[in-house]
């Protein structure tokens, strides 16, 4: 898939971390040659909103709405993390992402131990824009284990940025990551806005996911959520906002005008009973939309194929059968994701000079057969499954081949993750 989403029959040459040739007339001698036998070679999938630190808590918080889900389950569990459990949680999520062809994520960690998630990102080979969560607003049900002062929150975020931004051959970038307006003071958000401009850094947060959330923002800030984010100077092409379901007309216009990046999370929006985001309307207005699975406890998968199929299907009963066609949805999970993180020049499509972030998707399964007359994007969005992914490459390095993870010791991780969950649950009084 190149920038015009053409489907090309041919070969692709990778040298070091880049694509250096593409097409039917490549003459090169390569160390390794893969015969894909008619399978699909696609750009690595990009998910612009996940929480690696929550992977360990999959299935621990079902059937709750956002604020209860946070206060009763997710905040206590995040507060129970230790360095090792953060590392295991991140690696568990990354393994699942690689097995499903995701090569790049925008990640939100928790308040503490973020450097251990960064270590998992660096060790595994995934590409990530990640940051420590910021929560300096006292009250609102935040436990002492997650409460931090404004100064500490800012200082730690800056320290992480200085130390880790650009590490791993540029694979790890660091963002400022306030959780959402409710859990942040006005002072913190204004300083984040100033710092992000100063350092040309991204800001990644949640907005307008849930009706109770936007009501609280209106009560405490005296204005609508996105209007407030605009007033404190956060909106713009370096702000990534997850969800954006409950927006009025003025807020939609602010997001479009400011080119703020919207991370659409269809499964999570359904499972937390948040709502159905007006994505077709936002796209028509010119909004910048990409896709993400969100965290494991509100999904309960981290599967870009599931999110693509949901993003397409969920809109059709409301907007008609041609809403969100497969080709457009596939772009949301690739080139639009690259644009969201300012990497459209080197990620999100298969073109000479771009980074070798890619995946091979089998079309040999009975559920993909036969193919004559079937649109490639229909196959990728409506039919294909993460279990069809045969190979995943990030930055020119193969991280998964024939369903085996090459950068993660799976038996060791599983045993360590089991013990980590046990420890966290004990620490927060769950067993």
């Amino acid at each position: 898939m190149n920038a015009r989403q053409d489907v090309i029959n041919g070969d692709l040459l990778v040298e070091d971390s880049r694509i250096t040739a593409l097409g039917s007339n490549i003459t090169a001698s390569a160390d390794k040659v893969y015969d894909l036998q008619g399978d699909f070679l696609i750009p690595g999938l990009i998910q612009t909103h996940v929480h690696l630190c929550q992977t360990l808590f999959r299935g621990q918080a079902d059937d709750l709405e956002l604020l209860d889900w946070l206060r009763w389950k997710i905040w206590p569990l995040e507060g129970g993390h230790d360095p090792e459990s953060i590392y295991d949680s991140a690696l568990l999520g990354i393994g699942e992402l690689f097995l499903g062809g995701t090569t790049t994520i925008v990640d939100m960690e928790t308040v503490h131990h973020t450097e251990h998630a960064f270590q998992a990102i660096l060790d595994s080979g995934i590409r990530a824009l990640s940051g420590k969560v910021m929560m300096d607003e006292p009250g609102g049900g935040v436990l002492p284990s997650l409460q931090e002062s404004t100064e500490d929150s800012l200082q730690e975020s800056v320290d992480l940025f200085e130390k880790y931004h650009g590490q791993g051959n540029g694979r790890l970038e660091v963002a400022f990551t306030p959780r959402f307006v409710i859990s942040c003071t006005d002072a913190l958000l204004k300083e984040v806005s100033r710092l992000a401009r100063e350092k040309n850094a991204f800001v990644h947060t949640h907005a307008s996911e849930n009706r109770s959330e936007v009501r609280v923002v209106e009560e405490t800030r005296g204005m609508h959520n996105v209007v407030y984010l605009d007033r404190v100077g956060l909106t713009g092409p370096r702000l990534i906002l997850a969800h954006c379901i409950w927006l009025d007309d003025e807020e939609k216009e602010i997001l479009v005008r400011s080119r703020t990046r919207i991370a659409h999370c269809p499964s999570s929006n359904l499972k937390l009973a948040s709502g159905v985001a007006a994505i077709p309307e936002l796209l028509k207005r010119g909004a910048e939309i990409s896709l993400g699975a969100d965290g494991a406890p509100c999904n309960n998968n981290l599967d870009a194929f599931v999110e693509m199929r949901h993003a397409a299907l969920i809109q059709k009963p409301f907007c008609g059968p041609t809403a969100m066609p497969a080709r457009e949805v596939f772009a949301l999970a690739t080139i639009a994701g690259a644009r969201a993180i300012g990497h459209e020049h080197d990620l999100g499509s298969l073109e000479v000079g771009k980074k070798a972030d890619l995946a091979v998707v089998s079309r040999q399964g009975l559920h993909n057969w036969p193919n004559e007359g079937v649109d490639v994007y229909s196959q990728l969005v409506y039919q294909a499954r993460s279990s069809d992914v045969r190979l995943t490459m990030v930055d020119g390095r193969i991280v998964m081949e024939e369903r085996r993870l090459l950068t993660i010791d799976v038996p060791r991780l599983k045993e360590s993750a089991r013990r980590s969950l046990e420890r966290v649950r004990r620490r927060v009084g769950l067993n």
Copy 2:
């Protein structure tokens, strides 16, 4: 899973086609012993609405509403079938179903060549309630290739019933299968009603899937769709109605009172832009609901795990996060499916004396790990994927083991299906 949905830690003994012991104290010598190592042994999944004859047309009819989808794509393609393409289409669907743990289906074939689909059902070992589609109403865009007289339609349906009902050790049962009210005459539906009562047979049809469909029924019959089905004597515990989205209060009451079986098809309802069926309300009223993937060209999978997850998630934004909990959804795909086809005494749960229709679901994948404190039904509905199914057994016979189909020659089927699709497409002018 027994009738109370208890989760039991223990062993299960199969002799011939039945479960003969269950629990932790079985003393028996078996020909084969499987160590499931903590994986899930579940009742075989039951899908109460599929179209095996359409599997070959997956991806040939995307992004259309029901009536256009039928008239422009599906009816011409069905009319282009030959005996071999029907057989291949059925076998292709059955292979995918086995790989996803589905052991029983309620199937709707097309007008012609139904005996060849029956042959695929008998050869493969799946359990099915199936029938030839009936379409005797001239007009409405039906092509000559599918048009049949009332007499021929009835006679052929009766002949198929007499010849095939109960074949394959009872695995194949035959239903009367009018397509939907629009494509059937009043005379045909009344005679189907009489015949079904006489033979104690099931009737399987579509109803109230689409707003244009219910409008046409109201114009031609002068009453609402389900009221009409009730008047011609079809409603009752031996009628399976697929979809049931556009119902008024009176129609809901008729369905509940008559104990008519409703086959809910969440993916198909989304993809054809049909709507979101009011399943939580119908369940509360006491309606009989089960699940189905519908045909491959309106889904585009035949995956009970996808349908379970959709059935749960799609309702939550409208009915709250506790709507359609995992445990209840899993019952829809098992014991409720058994009840839908009058087999609750011998299918749909793992109990001594019931048929050995079952599946083994791995929980070893990173996306299922770790499990401590996670509800089993949450794992099955929110996390698990069809690719997690390790073994599928129908009627005591293993039909899939470690992702290999044991009753289907896959390379031969793939080549034959490829040629069949080519033939059908050529016949209807598509290449």
